[in-house]
């Protein structure tokens, strides 16, 4: 009966209760959705890092990462490879030769890391090949004996390898996407023109298009104007094994786009045989091995066992390779809980205020209940239940709304295109797919109940202090 009475009391003053419930709903929804977006961004970052950049475990000489000395290679690589492949939980291993180089085109240059790989091995360890921009090449498939390179989109833009051109085909393509004729008319004077950089192209577009047109069609125009001539040339210069400068012209056989500016600017993949041939290093001269596991959760255990198996080599798990990722995944859960606690603490004040009004308004009724035999425990319990119900109704509503919205955005994602550069500079994709675990919902539910209970304490204690005889005399 106490439960029924408490539940009905919540709806006694519908407007007041709805205001409190609405505030809890908005607070919970806002908190959960914000966490889902942050969580989605971090999960995407970790997923991208593990699957496109670093994999799970690295093996190298203990001093190699200090200054990437080309002489510090992995001794007995065949033995090490065998040992790794025989380790339970290891699905694939790739070997890499790493040289610091300068990438040059006619107009620009940039410092890069030149990584010699075996494309077939590499495809089993990382899925970088899946991020190749269509139409830019077939680096991982081709059997061509030319010197080929696979570079990031940001590096390609930096070196002016990617151009932006407006031509008839591009304008037709925009028309088929239902870009308004007024916009096409503004682009037509640029027909036949090629812009050497994204910056130059965007500058002209800003000049001719209105803000609204830029917002609505800017990204599409940029995408359609993007142009790359297959097998464009790039020179890579570096030092050979004797510290003599050398280099070669490479043809670009693929451009990858992983939404990580830093990586795209620095990592150039070439075929191992080309790199070893140019540097004069031995055919089995590898600086690093990347190890892919079948289960991310087993990384620490397997890394520990490899350390024992491979004394004299440095074995690094992904959290040690990228400590910023480790911080994001390990600390961030605590941060989410603190974030929700702060939101709920703010909401609690509203609930306390409402419950104090409830106790004040019902002084006579509470006096009557005590008079007819409702003991202090039950009075306390009834007020606490009202507070918990108030919090839960708002909390559950907020959770349902956030679940629906997360469900809707989980497949389409949220596009922060306006901030794309900033996101990619930090290694994050600008198109985020919110995600939240069931355990987080459970945590939030528990926190809501605790908030309801704690919010009820002061009002309930006020109720307990009422003298029934005096309370009954209240008007």
């Amino acid at each position: 009966m106490i439960w029924k009475t408490a539940w009905k009391n919540v709806w006694r003053n519908k407007i007041r209760s709805m205001v409190v419930i609405a505030s809890v709903t908005i607070g919970i929804f806002g908190g959960i959705f914000a966490v889902a977006v942050m969580n989605g961004a971090i999960e995407q970052r970790v997923d991208a890092a593990l699957n496109e950049e670093i994999s799970h475990i690295h093996i190298n000489d203990p001093a190699f990462r200090d200054n990437y000395d080309m002489q510090l290679h992995i001794p007995n690589p065949a033995q090490v490879l065998t040992s790794l492949r025989e380790t339970p939980g290891v699905t694939a291993v790739s070997s890499r030769t790493i040289i610091t180089a300068m990438a040059n085109t006619a107009t620009k240059s940039a410092g890069v890391q030149m990584i010699g790989i075996d494309p077939e091995e590499e495809k089993k360890v990382l899925r970088l090949h899946n991020t190749t921009i269509p139409g830019t090449g077939d680096f991982f498939e081709t059997k061509s004996r030319s010197k080929l390179a696979y570079i990031g989109q940001d590096l390609a833009k930096e070196l002016n390898i990617i151009r932006y051109r407006i031509d008839a085909a591009m304008l037709d393509s925009l028309a088929s996407e239902e870009v308004p004729i007024e916009v096409l008319d503004k682009l037509t004077p640029f027909k036949g023109q090629r812009f050497s950089s994204e910056k130059a192209f965007k500058k002209e577009m800003k000049r001719v298009l209105s803000l609204k047109e830029q917002h609505n069609y800017g990204a599409l125009i940029l995408e359609k104007a993007w142009s790359f001539r297959a097998r464009s040339k790039m020179t890579l210069t570096f030092l050979d094994k004797d510290q003599m400068q050398t280099g070669a012209v490479f043809r670009i056989a693929g451009i990858y786009d992983i939404k990580n500016s830093m990586y795209e600017m620095s990592q150039v993949l070439v075929k191992n045989e080309d790199l070893l041939d140019l540097t004069g290093l031995a055919p089995d001269h590898f600086h690093q091995m990347f190890v892919r596991l079948n289960d991310m959760e087993s990384t620490m255990a397997i890394a520990a066992s490899l350390e024992e198996k491979l004394p004299g080599l440095e074995v690094l798990n992904w959290k040690e390779i990228q400590p910023d990722l480790a911080m994001m995944t390990d600390l961030v859960q605590n941060f989410y809980a603190i974030f929700m606690v702060i939101i709920l603490a703010a909401l609690a004040f509203g609930i306390v205020n409402t419950m104090l009004m409830v106790v004040l308004e019902r002084t006579k009724e509470l006096g009557m209940l005590t008079a007819i035999g409702m003991n202090k425990k039950r009075v306390f319990g009834m007020i606490m239940l009202e507070s918990v119900f108030l919090s839960l109704v708002g909390g559950v509503t907020g959770m349902i709304i956030s679940k629906i919205l997360i469900g809707m955005t989980a497949t389409k994602g949220i596009n922060f295109a306006s901030y794309q550069e900033g996101f990619e500079a930090m290694g994050f994709a600008s198109h985020i797919y919110p995600v939240i675990s069931t355990s987080f919902f459970i945590t939030v539910t528990v926190l809501i109940v605790i908030t309801g209970i704690l919010s009820s304490i002061y009002p309930a204690l006020k109720a307990l202090k009422l003298d029934p005889a005096e309370a009954l005399r209240t008007e």
């Binding site: 009475t5 009905k8 009557m368 008079a371 007819i372 035999g373 409702m374 003991n375």
Partner: protein
């Protein structure tokens, strides 16, 4: 068989400016099945007396024995429990729980006492029928007239078969027709259930119905008449 005994009960209120002797040496006892009214002008001490009988206030001096239990000797939580099991209350302003129906208001005490559902329902329907509200079982107080609400309050007071029912000015907010109906019902229930009714009242109609009239003035009992 005595259900209630007051032995030399005093209640003195001490404020910083004045000392008020609200109840001044009252000695009374009540048998099972009595239908008694305590009358007196405002300030005579009858409400204070009723509060002490009901365990809502403690005497400064003296004893109040309910079924051989001294109320003054009980701690707060024990007193509340004692009230729940032994004393029924009918208040001037009905004091029903507005969010509960007539049925839920009547069965409230029984649910606190953990009666099983079958017995609870049986007793509830029996009482609501006795007070003439069997067709308003699922109505909330806001849908009932003042007289109907007070009848529900009477049913609630009797629900757990208390030793006695204290009614403080139960007819003060009712019209004459409702008052007559209510008094008839209470008299009928008094006879049927054998539960003692003690009224605190100014209402002459209540005094007329009562079989015992205790007059209080300045905190003292000045007369105690039993009618045949």
């Amino acid at each position: 068989m005595k259900v209630l005994e007051l032995k030399n009960v005093h209640k003195i209120y001490n404020s910083s400016e004045v000392k008020v002797h609200a109840v001044n040496g009252v000695t009374l006892d009540f048998d099972k099945g009595e239908f008694a009214a305590i009358v007196g002008p405002s300030g005579s001490g009858k409400t204070t007396l009723l509060n002490m009988i009901g365990g809502l206030d403690t005497p400064t001096e003296g004893e109040i024995m309910v079924d051989h239990t001294n109320l003054a000797g009980l701690k707060s939580s024990a007193l509340i429990d004692f009230r729940m099991r032994n004393i029924g209350f009918v208040f001037q302003s009905y004091n029903l729980i507005p969010v509960l129906t007539a049925k839920e208001n009547v069965e409230f005490i029984m649910s606190l006492q953990k009666w099983n559902r079958k017995d609870r329902d049986e007793r509830t329907y029996e009482l609501l029928k006795a007070v003439g509200l069997e067709d308003r079982v699922n109505s909330r107080p806001s849908k009932l007239s003042g007289g109907q609400q007070q009848r529900v309050a009477v049913a609630r007071a009797l629900a757990s078969k208390p030793k006695f029912v204290l009614a403080d000015e139960p007819t003060a907010n009712l019209d004459s027709k409702s008052t007559e109906t209510l008094l008839d019902i209470m008299e009928e229930l008094n006879k049927e259930e054998g539960i003692t009714f003690i009224f605190s009242t100014h209402d002459a109609r209540v005094v007329k119905k009562a079989r015992r009239v205790i007059t209080v003035e300045d905190g003292k009992v000045i007369s105690d008449e039993r009618k045949n």
